[in-house]
Amino acid sequence: MLELVILALVVLGFIGFLTARRRVVAMAAESGVHSHSLPAYHGTFVALWVGLPALLLALAWLLLQDSVIDYLILAGLPEHITAGLDDARRSLVISEIRSIANGQVFGDPRPELVAAAARLKTWGSLAGWAMVATCAALGLLGLLLTRQRVHPDFRARHGVERILDVLMIACAVVAIVTTLGIVASLLFEAFRFFERIPLGEFLFGLNWEPQIAIRADQVAGHGAFGAVPVFLGTLLVAFIAMTFAVPVGLLAAIYLAQYSGPRLRTTVKPLLEILAGIPTVVYGFFAVLTVAPAMRAFGAAIGLDVAPNSALAAGGVMGIMIIPFISSLSDDALNAVPRSLRDGSYAMGATKAETIRQVLLPAALPGIMGGVLLALSRAIGETMIVVMAAGLIAKMTVNPLDSVTTVTVQIVTLLIGDTEFDNPKTLAAFALGLVLFLTTLGLNVIALRIVQKYREKYD
């Protein structure tokens, strides 16, 4: 249907463009007035007014059509089917009707549903044609209205540019809308979660067993949504990653910034960038395939019991992923230290190591700290490595050889598979998502502020 709308609008817009252009040329020739704007601007002006409003209408229509039809179908069902159903059951009924309408019939559907499916089909195609007709009409209306304004005196270029301004602002606002969308959806679902599970329970409870709660009649699931062990596991994995990545990344940056020649720098830097460009699912598989078995074997060799999905393996591999991040931000911070300080220290007879330790590092510390915070935020939000390499069971432990779970692991496992937006298990994922979003946002804001202040200081 959308294809038809677009075709109709393209045709109409083209007609509008051509007629408007011809008309303004003719009018200008007739009256002997020089047109303010080029004829093409008049054409574009008309074409934009033909296409844009109708296209927006079509998109809105498409987005809302299914919800509206679903609502109407549900409302049209006999009482005895819909009575006493919660939202989740309702959506099941709807999806059953939909699959019947699509010709996939499982078992023996109730006749009411078959009838509803038939209605759904007719309404669907009806809505589609209605959309085409409405949009075409709107396009035509735009054509007729704007054609009236075509005149050599009409400042068509200003009109076109104003439309472009609005479009550009709309695109720029997408960033704000996205943030709002994230905040709104997280808050909305998390709020529904906290209606069932008290906030204090979630933030301070020590027992996390979300799977229990979906069993029949255990919806309340008290005691099963205490997220402290999940937070602890997240921090443990992130801490392991940072203890590995910070020294390695920082030392690499120091070497590249102070010791290495230009040739080594131009070979090593792209290699580190490759490390940064590898998708995280690959790191996850690397952890499972190589690192975890190796650690287990090593642990067995020295008499330690290492869990197959130990926090150490997940955190260590996450550390590899973060090394290039730390090294490039530290490199920037070290290079931002003014040359004069470095020269001042060398002129005092300091060695490179003394200059680095006593002058460069203290001076670059804010920048490095900002980078470390950004990396920490990334470690906390990293998903695939831990989903594949960390555990699923929440444990109150800080033993790196044990298996722990993280916020992101729980979000993914709670939402993978069929999700119904109406049980605490699903909603818990959004509550965890809210905590994750706020934590990483806080870290990012602080880090960006530190880095910015630091840049201003030396600019």
């Binding site: 479009l167 997408v174 997280l186 995280t280 699912v281 690959v282 598989f285 590899i320 990483t440």
Partner: protein, 428 residues
């Protein structure tokens, strides 16, 4: 002043001074060594990562096959129901013919189990696409089942006790006979690129995931490229510095650092939950990815626009062009190489993104390539995730192979970006 005397009498060439300076240089060398060590460690780990993937993945690029001569018996396949024929029996009979002589039932089962359970489907597809084959003899190479494939490639060693491997001694005996007669070959595994997912590793391929990723990236590009450029042009060329433009900037910078899984939650709650778009669809995947790619494209575009020297703008303004004309006719074309470079890098990131696609259900088990934007599909990274989770041994090699394919695409995209940057970007 006591102090002056102390430093004036300092003898730079005394033994203690020499020792002190020696220590200082040793500390310097130490730090240098630590640095080399850190770089060596990072690059070494990169090598281990790639090495282990190649080591484990290279075997998936070939597939152990056996050639069969199958007589498509009209009794087993009716012309008016070609798809419903008993192809299993045809394939098994043909395979049985390779090993003449009587077999006990257990032996026969062990022997027939060596063949892939997907083999009948290959024959069916062949016959369905060409019904005139009914009543004729078809030459077709069919894959062995995964245990035999692993055994042939040497991944399952011969010298472990029978209980610890999935190939029985009986099967090894048959394998050796077939091998001796030259009936076992291992050609390039085209299935990996032509088939969609399957429960049997020897039948599983990436075609579905590649198409799914292509659709998702297409949607991502169609949304993020125009929106990103328009937003960047507005912020860089038109917006006055005020609270609004600051708010947008802060938002963009923060979005760039929001964990990807949160974008998945957004997609699930808004696109699927609120707007009712279909689950597992490349359309939704592309929309989520476009939100993540947007900051990258905006930041790259702004940098490219900034790099166009003001003199170009002034020259155009000087001959009476409007601000829009200056941007559209002069600034944007000059900034295009930089914008394209940033876009390709953003798309490469999107191609490797996994977590948000998991949340919107693009990890479903789907055995055919999607036919459109709203069909259920997987993407390359989610396919890797699915295979990594599969218990069959054969999927380990296929996961690594899929990763190598993914990395291959990333290398190509980045190479194009680097090429664009070096060849087209002008230095002012």
């Amino acid at each position: 002043m006591a102090s002056r005397d102390i430093s004036e009498t300092h003898d730079w060439f005394s033994d203690s001074a020499r020792l002190h300076i020696k220590r200082r240089h040793a500390a310097d060398r130490r730090l240098r060594l630590y640095g080399i060590g850190a770089i060596g460690l990072a690059i070494g780990l990169l090598a281990v990562l790639l090495g282990s993937l190649i080591l484990s993945g290279h075997s998936a690029f070939v597939q152990t096959m056996v050639p069969l001569e199958i007589y498509v018996d009209p009794d087993a396949v009716e012309p008016d129901n070609v798809g419903g024929g008993n192809y299993r029996k045809l394939v098994r009979d043909a395979f049985q013919d390779l090993m003449p002589g009587e077999m006990s039932r257990t032996k026969q089962r062990a022997y027939l189990d060596m063949l892939s359970s997907g083999a009948p489907f290959m024959l069916r597809d062949r016959v369905v696409s060409n019904p005139s084959l009914i009543g004729q003899t078809v030459s077709i190479s069919v894959p062995f089942a995964d245990p035999i494939d692993q055994f042939h490639k040497g991944i399952t060693p011969r010298d472990v006790p029978e209980a610890q491997r999935r190939v029985s001694d009986l099967q090894i005996g048959y394998y050796d006979q077939l091998l001796e007669r030259g009936l076992i070959s291992a050609p390039f595994n085209w299935t990996l690129f032509t088939a969609a997912d399957s429960r049997f590793p020897e039948m599983a391929g990436l075609a579905g995931a590649l198409v799914g990723s292509f659709y998702a990236l297409l949607v991502c590009f169609l949304i993020s490229f125009p929106v990103g450029i328009a937003a960047a042009i507005y912020l860089e060329e038109f917006a006055r510095k005020n609270r609004w433009s600051d708010l947008i900037e802060v938002n963009i910078n923060n979005l760039a650092a929001v964990p990807s899984v949160v974008f998945g939650l957004l997609g699930l709650a808004v696109f699927i939950g609120f707007f009712g778009l279909p689950r597992s669809a490349p359309l939704v995947g592309g929309m989520v990815l476009s939100l993540m790619t947007l900051p990258t494209i905006i930041i790259a575009t702004r940098a490219a626009l900034k790099a166009v020297p003001p003199s170009i703008r002034e020259a155009a303004f000087g001959i009476g062009a409007s601000r829009h004309q200056v941007v559209m006719h002069h600034v944007l074309p000059l900034a295009m190489p930089g914008i394209l470079t940033g876009t390709i890098i953003g798309l490469a990131q999107a191609l490797g993104e996994t977590a948000p696609l998991l949340l919107i259900g693009m990890n479903a088990f789907i055995t055919s390539a999607p036919g459109g934007l709203t069909d259920p599909a997987t993407a390359l990274p989610t396919q890797i995730f699915i295979w990594a989770d599969s218990p069959e041994r054969g999927f380990v090699a296929r996961t690594s192979a899929a990763i190598l394919v993914l990395i291959g695409f990333l290398i190509i995209m980045n190479a194009i970006a680097i090429f664009l940057r070096q060849k087209l970007e002008r230095k002012w």
